[in-house]
Amino acid sequence: MTIRWSRFCVVAATLCVVALVGCGGPYDSSVSGMVTLDGQAVPRGTVSYQPKAGGPAAYARIENGSYVMRTGREEGLPSGDYYVTVTANEPSAVARTEGGGPPPPGKPITPMWYRTKDTSGLSFMVEPGDNEIDLELKSPPPPGWNPRAHRSG
């Protein structure tokens, strides 16, 4: 009788643990860090982690030089190999044009080659668990950079 009761408790406890794990965060890694350009913190912008194996990219907004990756609504991302891009522009100077049109894009803060995975040269292995990855950007263009071949970020 007591044995059966304890067996019930064990089953119940196990199921509770399974249920808790099942509903929690779905990703096994988290990534945070700093973004700098020539040693200066980048004040604003967007970081993307694009999985080399395919699948949805993770994104983060840069706030005062630091970032925390999220996938969709949730913090974290799956562990694995990633291409990393950084896109940052000054806020647009005006909310709209004189004709009521959309605001013109703000001045770029980060160089254009960091905006696409093929030219950013940033690639990282994300380990399971917490990762701290600082992105140290430089303004001199990489060898072979042709601004006219990559017009758009």
Partner: protein, 211 residues
């Protein structure tokens, strides 16, 4: 003794049922959970709305874009117990997106009416089912769908900014803005070609999940 054993077994089964039910919410037709991220020219969106219109029958699923650029979809009121959980029917969807600048101060529709929304911050093709090039298959279960959008086409020549930052708008500038339809009387073949160039280049949409 025998009775007791049966009670215990019943208790275990009941517990399992409760737990399997607990995570998913009601099991009827909402079999998918969709969350995702919206970017505009590579930068995270700050506000707006995404709408998934079923290609066949059904109700649209809607998600507000949060300040961190993410959204989660729900159909109708969704699951009121878990308002952020998202509830969507799996299937084929066309996606429209609306992102506008904050309304101008004091400008309202009529007296005491709602504020007039600011100009769109994304290409006008995303506004309608007939022009959007975003289409996705929502599978049963949980998934992430990233929407990489293009910024607005440049405003009509009224503006006085010839020195836009290099490379930012040149691509969109090449796409003709077909705001006013050509008169139907004379339609040389050149007009027939125009819509071909209008959809935004899918260049930066490569990392969408299911496509």
């Amino acid at each position: 003794m025998n009775l007791k054993r049966r009670w215990i077994a019943g208790g275990e089964i009941g517990l399992i049922l409760v737990l399997t039910y607990g995570c998913g919410g009601p099991a009827y037709e909402y079999d998918s959970v969709v969350t995702g991220t919206v970017t505009i020219d590579g930068e995270l969106a700050k506000s707006g709305t995404v709408t998934f219109h079923p290609v066949n029958q059904g109700k649209p699923a809607i998600g507000r874009i949060h300040p961190d650029g993410s959204y989660s979809l729900r159909t109708g009121q969704g699951d009121l117990k878990e308002p952020d959980g998202g509830t969507v029917v799996s299937g084929e969807y066309l996606v429209t997106v609306s992102v506008t600048a904050p309304p101008a101060k004091g400008a309202t529709l009529g007296e005491g009416g709602p504020p007039i929304p600011g100009p769109s911050l994304i290409h006008s093709n995303y506004a309608q089912k007939s022009t959007t090039d975003l289409s996705f298959t929502v599978k049963p279960g949980k998934q992430v769908i990233v929407l990489n959008l293009e910024g607005p086409e440049p405003a009509p020549p009224a503006e006085e900014s010839p020195e836009s930052p290099p490379g930012e708008t040149s691509e969109a500038a090449e796409a003709p803005v077909d705001s006013e339809p050509a008169p139907p009387t004379d339609s040389p073949p050149a007009n027939g070609v125009e819509p071909e160039a209008a959809p935004p280049a899918p260049d930066n949409q490569a990392d969408n999940l299911e496509q």
